[in-house]
């Protein structure tokens, strides 16, 4: 293949490296394929309108996941509503206000630390702080607040990245026209961080949907059906927690696979939307 200049030992090395690369790519792709096919085959036949639209009933012994779906929606809304202003605000402070390099370094280090902490520790501290110290009991809102801390670094990072693409000349132009700092932020900086916030929201939504360890002790695992306002203050399992409970504690694998299939589809949707919005914003920025 390489003629006479390449010794036999080198050819063997090249060949084995090639084989290793191909094998690794094959393993990665087959794993993904296996997960998708296996979960779909076992899960999709178990999804029915009845499961999606009812709550578990002790009388009929039937299991419905409507409460879990609603709880997931509640926790998603509550977390995002709280974390967006916090994260975006922190990012604006870092890029627009902070002049002290040491403070910036400390805040960024703190964000890095937060993103490395495992979710079980968030769950534990969330339980101690929100449920016990602030007396929120085990509730959706305590779970949401725990997730806020977890997702803060994500929103912060994506917003910061989008703010970096706002040209400095826009700010200078606004200042030159006599605008105050707040006015510049409101009219120039805030519109610039929209794409970062949206990207951050998509990433966070994926993390919130998949989170279980942090929610087990903060939001609990009740399956009661609640309206949105009473829902916040009462305990409730999200889809992921429900999957765990049904599979591990109750051995209801049919329901567990149905939830797993739903979660896979949602993960797929989130992935696609992250990719599409990323491409969209990139194109818009280049114009």
């Amino acid at each position: 293949m390489y003629g006479n200049g390449v010794s036999k030992a080198r050819k063997i090395y090249i060949m084995s490296m090639r084989v290793l690369m191909w094998a690794s790519v094959a393993v990665t792709c087959l794993l993904a394929l296996f997960m998708i096919v296996y979960i779909s085959v076992r899960g999709i036949p178990n999804i029915s309108w009845e499961i999606l639209s009812t709550k578990p009933s002790y009388l009929s012994g039937g299991i419905g996941i409507l409460p879990d779906i609603m709880n997931t929606v509640y926790i998603l809304i509550a977390t995002l509503v709280i974390v967006i202003p916090l994260g975006a605000g922190a990012a604006i402070y870092l890029t627009e206000y902070a002049s002290n390099k040491r403070i910036v370094a400390v805040i960024e280090y703190a964000a890095e630390t937060l993103s490395g902490i495992p979710s079980i520790i968030y769950g534990l501290v969330g339980m101690l702080f929100f449920c016990q110290f602030l007396n929120m009991k085990t509730s959706i809102i305590a779970g949401a607040l725990t997730l806020v801390i977890m997702n803060l670094p994500t929103i912060m990072r994506t917003t910061q990245e989008s703010l970096k693409t706002v040209p400095q000349s826009y700010r200078e132009g606004a200042f030159g026209l006599g605008a105050g700092k707040w006015r510049v932020i409101r009219t120039v900086v805030l519109p610039g961080c929209v794409d970062g916030v949206i990207t951050g929201c998509i990433l966070s939504a994926g993390r919130i949907l998949g989170e279980s360890a942090a929610l087990l002790f903060t939001a609990g695992f009740a399956h009661a059906l609640n309206g949105i306002f009473e829902g916040f203050s009462s305990p409730g399992a999200t889809l992921t927690v429900a999957l765990y409970v049904y599979a591990k504690e109750q051995g209801e694998f049919g329901i567990a696979f149905a939830i797993a299939a739903i979660l896979m589809v949602l993960a797929l949707v989130i992935n696609l939307s992250a990719m599409l919005t990323g491409k969209y914003f990139k194109r818009r920025r280049n114009i």
Partner: protein, 289 residues
């Protein structure tokens, strides 16, 4: 500028400063809570007895709280996941970054990010019903829920982040390095592994450290496949990790047992901080180049 406006601007500045400091506040809160709630049990049990005790019998009438089994399980499990997952991730990353055409790269990257997006409980569920019975059948053991099952699940779970971070690092290697190597007569594959990979080594090291952090912190998937008995680790034994030790007894624990669980979380937190420090070291190293 009139006075009112100045006050207003100061107030806005103050609000943003507070928002910026929330992150620091969160880290402090987590640290303080873990230390405060983790220390009492360690004091009562004794640090050495707690860390190096081989027996965890929290439910017996004469309870003993030694977490050496959990620590060793977490270390072995993470090491196993790294040994199994890193080579696959590494070679995939080299392929994606250097060999694959643009279309193939995009497709495989989409597949990898899909793997990353699957919730850990879904991996746990698949592990419970495929891996655990599989191990039982292949190795003829009584129960497949074991350290080995946990290692396989963890290796799969860290794969996406290892591939992503390593690919980014390999993509960033200056083209001139590779051109020079090719011009000197090295074949493409030799160039990738002898020039590009060493040039991207700190990025790849970062990927490995991130993988370690993810593996040691994973709780739910591991809980579903590892059997959850407080044994000293063995490949086919039912084991309990630091994370799962906290998760499995928290809901019904009380008194010293509960405090001991907080102490386990503190130990886990220290492990994570150690990993973070290592990560910071590699990142700084990279900035310096």
């Amino acid at each position: 500028m009139n006075n009112n406006k100045k006050v207003f601007e100061k107030a806005v500045h103050g609000i943003f400063l507070i928002l910026g400091l929330v992150t620091i506040g969160c880290v402090l809160m987590i640290t303080v809570y873990l230390v405060i709630s983790g220390i009492p049990a360690i004091r009562e049990i004794g640090l050495l007895k707690f860390l190096f005790g081989k027996k965890w019998e929290s439910a017996s009438s004469d309870p003993s709280y030694g977490i050496l089994p959990f620590i060793l399980t977490s270390v072995y499990g993470t090491a196993g996941a790294i040994v199994a997952g890193v080579p696959v991730g590494f070679f995939t990353a080299v392929y994606l970054s250097k060999v694959a055409s643009k279309g193939v790269k995009e497709t495989v990257e989409t597949i990898v990010s899909l793997l990353a997006g699957i919730p850990s409980v879904v991996y746990g569920l698949a592990g419970m019903l495929v891996l655990v019975p599989g191990i039982r059948r292949i190795f003829h053991v009584a129960d497949g829920a074991s350290l080995l099952a946990a290692i396989v699940v963890l290796a799969i779970m860290i794969l996406p982040s290892i591939i992503k971070v390593s690919t980014t690092a390999l993509d960033a290697v200056p083209k001139e390095y590779e051109d020079a190597s090719l011009a000197l007569g090295a074949t493409p594959v030799e160039t990738y592994f002898r020039v590009s990979v060493p040039a991207a080594r700190s990025g790849i090291a970062t990927a490995v450290v991130l993988g370690i952090g993810r593996a040691i912190g994973e709780a739910m998937a591991v809980m579903m496949v590892s059997g959850n008995v407080a044994n000293m680790p063995g490949l086919f034994k039912s084991v309990r990790f630091l994370t799962t030790a906290v998760a499995s007894e928290m809901s019904y624990s009380s008194g010293l047992q509960r405090q001991a669980l907080f102490s386990i979380a503190l130990v886990l937190f220290l492990f994570i901080m150690l990993i973070n420090a290592t990560l910071g070291f590699f990142l700084k190293d990279r900035k310096g180049v």
